[in-house]
């Protein structure tokens, strides 16, 4: 009779907090009081826990007043994964269970009325949070053992029922229990849309050396990219292949991506640790919560977070709703996204390489260089479309390229280089950046702070003069100049040049302003 506690984890976005689940069992008005800002799903746990304990042939303190506190009391908590920790705390407080073994262990799982331990979403970020809090052992539902084991250094125990967990804690032989359904039925069809990109390669594309170079720079330095051009000129084909030239995910990145997938309930543990960067291409009809995250109840990550450490491709981006486009400003700059609803504010990682594609006009056929271009748009339609392209988002884009329809002039044997070779150069360039910025909080040129760059890695005076002349002529803004500075470093990193000079700066200016790239830019990178 008395007091006991067990540990659970609260999730707010991808940030976890260790929660003390405290139970007190004492004489008084019979019933279970739950305090500590629980949402309705969690509060319903009162009945799940009670029936699970009774149906597991364990002693429910039916003649006592039970108080359960989820501490810290002011942190909002939701979800059914507290059931197991509540049940164990109540059993220990009621004298059914020793408190030994409850310390230094986190318990995660939803209880069924028969005492079965059901899987819940978000196990990976919960176990990560437990690991950060110094916990070395977790108990999870059996189907989620593989997911929890991805966290290094964590002892993971998987069980099928409350009875099994109690037997383990008492040091008794663990009884058999029927397996618990995982809840996910797998794909209904043989079609595997998510594997479609696996076979793609840059060598599928012919020609377009300038665009290929621009894409390589974008991948190497983490620079956001805007591809403009009439429909059918290959914008989508190029964007879809950008993940193929990105290096493998680091273990840290891999866990970040999988934690986001776990929160969204789309983590496929059967595929093991993720190695390849994700790719997301939401349709322009997508809602704001779908892109940046949100929804009712628990905040679900949006596409910007699901493509973290990978590529987010927004095809025909001027057709996206303006509020969706506005929301992208934050992740483009900071690499994370904060979703605020009421008093709840949730931050999720969102460091994707953003690739935007835009047609020259709503119908996609406009071409200023030819008179009979087949465009059926009115001039004012074209203007409002262009205004959306040149809005505040494009101001946060580093590289702007205009693609021309294929012709004899831009057909080129460069097209045959495959993704693996490009990826090698990208990986090498990224390594240089990581070493250079080891003492700072960023990994890539695209994330570098403009001030720190100017103080520690300035461009030579001749290159600065070149940039200044563009600013004075009105062709470049101050913000644009910082982007050119970053790009110049990436061009140098790709070429293996120790410090960017006038050549690299000229290339960077061309990449930034959509100008044509000179042949020397391509020769530089193969050096």
């Amino acid at each position: 009779m008395g007091y006991a506690r067990a540990h659970g984890v609260a999730l707010r976005g991808a940030v976890g907090h260790l929660v003390d689940v405290q139970a007190d069992v004492s004489p008084g008005l019979v019933g279970l009081t739950l305090v500590g800002r629980a949402d309705s799903v969690l509060a319903e746990g009162r009945d799940r826990v009670r029936m699970a304990i009774i149906n597991s042939d364990l002693e429910w303190p039916a003649t006592k007043r039970i108080t359960v506190l989820l501490s810290p009391a002011d942190l909002p908590k939701g979800g059914s994964h507290y059931d197991l920790s509540m049940a164990l705390a109540i059993l220990a407080a009621g004298g059914e269970l020793e408190t030994i073994g409850l310390e230094r262990t986190v318990f995660i799982g939803e209880l069924a009325l028969d005492g079965g331990l059901r899987p819940t979403s978000g196990v990976l970020p919960m176990v990560l949070a437990a690991s950060h809090a110094g916990i070395a052992r977790v108990v999870v539902p059996e189907p989620q053992v593989a997911e929890a084991r991805m966290v290094p250094g964590m002892e993971v125990l998987g069980f099928r029922s409350l009875g099994q967990v109690v037997a383990e804690l008492r040091g008794e032989p663990v009884p058999d229990a029927p397996p618990v359904a995982t809840g996910t039925g797998g794909s209904l069809l043989g079609w595997r849309g998510d594997r479609r990109l696996d076979d793609m390669d840059m060598s599928d594309l012919r020609g377009r050396p300038e665009t290929r170079f621009a894409v390589e720079v974008a991948a190497a330095g983490g620079h956001h990219l805007l591809l403009k051009g009439p429909k059918g000129c290959g914008k989508t084909s190029i964007a879809e292949r950008i993940p193929t030239i990105l290096p493998d995910l680091s273990r840290e990145e891999s866990l970040e991506v999988m934690a986001v997938q776990s929160l969204a309930g789309v983590l496929d543990v059967d595929r093991g640790l993720l190695t390849r960067p994700p790719f997301a291409a939401p349709h322009h009809d997508a809602s704001k919560p779908g892109i940046v995250g949100g929804g009712t109840g628990r905040v679900r990550p949006g596409q910007v977070s699901l493509s973290h450490a990978g590529v987010l491709f927004l095809d025909e981006f001027p057709l996206f709703k303006s509020d969706v486009i506005e929301c992208l400003r934050e992740p483009l700059e900071s690499g994370d996204i904060t979703v605020s609803r009421g008093e709840e504010s949730v931050t999720l990682p969102a460091r994707a390489l953003v690739v935007l594609a835009a047609n020259p006009c709503p119908c996609g056929n406009f071409d200023a260089s030819i008179t009979k271009d087949g465009c059926i748009c009115r001039a004012n339609e074209r203007q409002s479309y262009e205004r959306k392209v040149s809005g505040p988002i494009t101001d946060r884009i580093d590289i702007i390229r205009t693609l021309r329809p294929m012709s004899e002039q831009n057909h080129d044997p460069w097209g045959s280089e495959n993704s693996a070779d490009i990826r090698e150069r990208v990986t090498a360039a990224r390594r240089r950046q990581r070493e250079r910025y080891a003492d700072f909080g960023w990994r890539l040129n695209g994330q570098a702070s403009g001030i720190a760059l100017r103080d520690n890695w300035p461009l030579p005076p001749s290159a600065e003069a070149l940039i200044d002349s563009r600013i004075f002529s009105g062709a470049l803004t101050r913000r644009g100049a910082v982007r050119v500075h970053r790009l110049a470093w990436t061009v140098a990193d790709l070429a293996g040049v120790d410090w960017p000079g006038v050549t690299e700066t000229e290339t960077a200016l061309a990449l930034r302003n959509g100008g044509s790239l000179t042949v020397s830019a391509f020769e530089g990178r193969s050096a």
Partner: protein, 121 residues
């Protein structure tokens, strides 16, 4: 329910006498029993030191309908509090402390009944 009304009343009376004996043995003084007013009934009114104790007695012959404890809920507790005040007003008694107690009597077919006294609901 299979039991008849007289049988239920008999069980209730039995439980109340068992409870009263238990509380007196524990050192409490009985002031009133089965006191009624328009709002309801108090099973036992007792005194323990300076404290006035209003006691509800619940008797069960089996636990098929839940424990005796579970029969007392928030509504019942609120009514007992109102009744306690009504009793004090009627008897013109002033008590420094008032407490609502529960005595649960589990009547076993063989052997003596199991009595549990819950102090301060």
């Amino acid at each position: 329910m299979s039991s008849t009304a007289p049988a239920r009343i008999a069980l209730g009376n039995y439980g109340e006498s068992v409870a009263e004996r238990h509380l007196v043995e524990a050192g409490m003084t009985v002031l009133d029993r089965n006191w009624r007013c328009a709002d309801g009934e108090i099973d036992l009114v007792l005194r323990e030191g300076d404290t006035l104790v209003v006691c509800e007695v619940k008797t069960r012959s089996h636990d098929g309908c839940g424990t005796p404890h579970e029969a007392v809920d928030k509504t019942k507790l609120d009514r007992l509090k109102r009744l306690a005040i009504a009793w004090l007003e009627q008897h013109d008694v002033r008590a420094p402390g008032i407490r609502i107690d529960l005595v649960a009597v589990m009547h076993a077919p063989r052997g003596s009944a199991l009595v549990e006294h819950v102090r301060g609901l």
